[in-house]
Amino acid sequence: MMVKKVNKDGFKELFNKLKEEYNIAAPILMEKGKKELIEYGYVDTFEDIIWDQQPDSSPKNIVFPQNSYLGNDFEGHAAYDDGQPTIILGVRSCDIEAIKVLDQVFIEDEMYVDENYKNRRDKTIIVGLSCPERQSSCFCDTLGLDPVESDYAPIYLFKDDGNFWIKVKDSQYEDLFNGLEEGDQDKLNKLLEERRAKFKESSFELDIPIPLPEKDMFEADIWQEMTEKCLGCGVCTYYCPTCYCFNFFWEGEDGESQKYKSWDSCMFSSYSVHASGHNPRDSKDKRYRNRIMHKFSYHPLNYEGLACVGCGRCIDRCPVNLDIREALKMTEEYLLEKGGAESGKD
């Protein structure tokens, strides 16, 4: 454990030093037609980085891009991009926990490790950032996350008005920061505590058993009403940092055909339709049920911990602002009404 403290210029210098060996991705302002959104992109100049606002989308597309090339049919071995390692700067607790979910699924599963993801993830260093203040639709602390610090990131930043505190938890990265002024660990902890207290009380309380009881929720009659305004598009899954469902597609003819992996969404009908035309989830309420149950029941049963980090992106980017908090509230009421929601495996 090492703590360094630098002022703004010191950090800029560090940034420029790191830029030589690493590609650096950070939240920057992206012009999107008439919208201007803060998203993770590769950045060259330090001033472009936006620190004080939660980015509108997560760094998912850096560790798990929408289309990744797996390999072709004549060489037969996987295609790994051997570019420079990447540093993702300024990742808040919600996005760090989201990457932890992806790691759980693709790397830490003893039965099957996804080489394509692992290769990319091993070359990525996550630099966390203590969250300055709550945004309108996030609720990470309601789900038990600590917005002020996450222990899953090897390096963690705390930015108050002038200075950057750098907490290096993983010793292998310490040499990146030697030569910088030492920081007083207790002072940093005090600042963290202050911010934790300052984090204004969240207006969203939730009391649901984790994992949600599978059969009870499956037969619940709330899903139709919950998704009445849902359009059935794929925005919530594409902009959710923990949604990792994927599909394959091929390009080119036989002899030089290439295999790709691409994002897929459980909200699409072609996600689970059989060749016979039968579709176990043929309407948007069944699909949204699968989406909520996967995050609050299936993932906790198959792995451990939730697959929702309360970042609120699915609320902000949804064309009709379908609010997952309303969905969870309805689930809570349904289970209470159903008499004593027994938690644990059904």
């Binding site: 037969g76 499956f218 060749a275």
Partner: protein, 282 residues
């Protein structure tokens, strides 16, 4: 032998058998891996499946139709329904496809030792069962099991599969093989009617310590398993294998789930007892 980059091994089609042609177009493909030591090490359990890649077109899951005892090739049967299956049907002997696998849990072979076995297979559903049938009928394994009975159901005489195996199955001792079609049809002397209606009078279903394996169109599985439960058969002794849309085959791509179970990883073989606990999302 876990290839973890989702890329297939190359395999050559060494034989294509046209099973049916009139109503449904079903072919059985026999393939060998191009790479000898992959062919050597490749092993699977009956009831498991593999992802077959047609290069440049796509990939689809197929259950093994051959038994692991037939070591120097793998077989799978394909009904022409879509893009990949049509591409397969246009292939000829010598063409190269990709095979990834084996995936899934396979039939509970070890715990079936010493039991009577009854197979009830419908249409293309007979393909995954055939892997287990040929395995238990193989002389190395036959004596591990008591009486083996098989009821195959097809739409019409032209839709029968694996006719070339029937004589061999009938010759194996202590077996009873029954064939049925949906409606009577002249020139057909064997049974007629849906399989679930024939269980009582065509099969010795009430032998103690019997395990049932059934696979076929979902509607048939539903009727057969319900009828067996009505007859008092233990749900844990009724084994079936499910078909879902699949892409990765290892429980990662998310689409084949029933509740928190992934049909490709925790299945595709389930007992009716397990299915009873799961939400009926299939």
């Amino acid at each position: 032998m876990e290839k973890t980059d989702m890329l297939p091994h190359k395999a050559e089609i060494i034989e294509i058998k046209q099973e049916t042609e009139t109503n449904l177009n079903i072919k059985t493909f026999r393939c060998r891996f191009l790479d000898e030591d992959v062919q050597e090490e490749f092993d699977f359990k009956p009831g498991q499946f593999m992802m077959v890649t047609v290069f440049g077109v796509g990939e689809a899951p197929f259950g093994f139709a051959s038994s692991p005892t037939e070591e120097d090739y793998v077989e799978f049967s394909v009904k022409e329904v879509g893009l990949v299956t049509e591409a397969l049907h246009n292939m000829k002997v010598g063409d190269v496809i990709g095979i990834r696998g084996p995936f899934g849990n396979g039939f509970p072979v070890e715990s079936t030792d010493g039991k009577n076995i009854i197979f009830i297979g419908g249409g293309i559903g007979l393909a995954p069962l055939r892997s287990l049938i040929n395995y238990v009928m193989d002389e190395e394994n036959r004596d591990k099991y008591e009486k083996i009975q098989l009821l195959t159901a097809f739409r019409s005489p032209e839709d029968t599969l694996y006719c070339y195996d029937y004589d061999w199955w009938e010759d194996v001792e202590n077996t009873r093989i029954k064939y049925t079609i949906d409606e009577p049809c002249e020139g057909w002397s064997k049974c007629v009617g849906y399989p679930h209606t024939l269980i009582e009078d065509k099969l010795e279903w009430d032998l103690p310590n019997t395990r049932f394996f059934t696979c076929g169109p979902p509607i048939m599985i539903k009727f057969v398993t319900n009828r067996l439960k009505d007859l008092g058969i233990e749900p844990s002794e009724i084994v079936t294998t499910l078909e879902m849309r699949m892409s990765c085959g290892v429980g990662k791509c998310g689409r084949c789930n029933i509740g928190h179970y992934y049909v490709c990883k925790d299945g595709p073989v389930f007992t009716m007892e397990q299915l009873g606990e799961m939400p009926d999302e299939y």
